[in-house]
Amino acid sequence: MKQHLGRQSGVQNVEVSLIDGKVEITPKEDGQIDPAELLKATYDSGVTAAEMDITARGKISKEANGELALQLATNRSYVLADTELAKRLEPLAGTATSVTVRGQLYKKPPGAKRSKPPSSFKLVVLEVQKKE
């Protein structure tokens, strides 16, 4: 699995802990990384992703349907799940302020044994680390 993930675009380093099943991925500084592709690659390598957390920096935007999103400069955005922490970011929507957030992008549905990862995600903000 380490080799499989390491071959994905934008991946600089992969650390796997067999003891607790933790996989840490360091993105390349100048590369593009797609967490959805990593989930797919994990599935393809024969193991099941139970959850995925990401730390990302971007700007807050408001979608046409009123949902908040974390807009990354690479034309990729993640809709924020409607939580208290996400609501606190609402005043920053449409401003030039960049925020660094840690959030949960994927969690395996309870009871599911092995299922293909979804193609769209909602980011559950766990922590707002920086506003700049």
């Binding site: 993105p27 100048d30 024969g46 992703a49």
Partner: protein
């Protein structure tokens, strides 16, 4: 001439700025099951 210079500056700016802007996902952590 001025147009050429402006285009050159825009291209130069994109080359310098874009790689910095791409580093948006800073860290990813997964928990997996079924590893042997």
């Amino acid at each position: 001439m001025k147009n050429k210079l402006a285009i050159f500056l825009v291209l130069l700016g994109s080359i310098v700025v874009l790689p910095l802007a791409k580093a948006q996902v800073k860290h990813i952590e997964m928990r997996v099951e079924g590893m042997t």
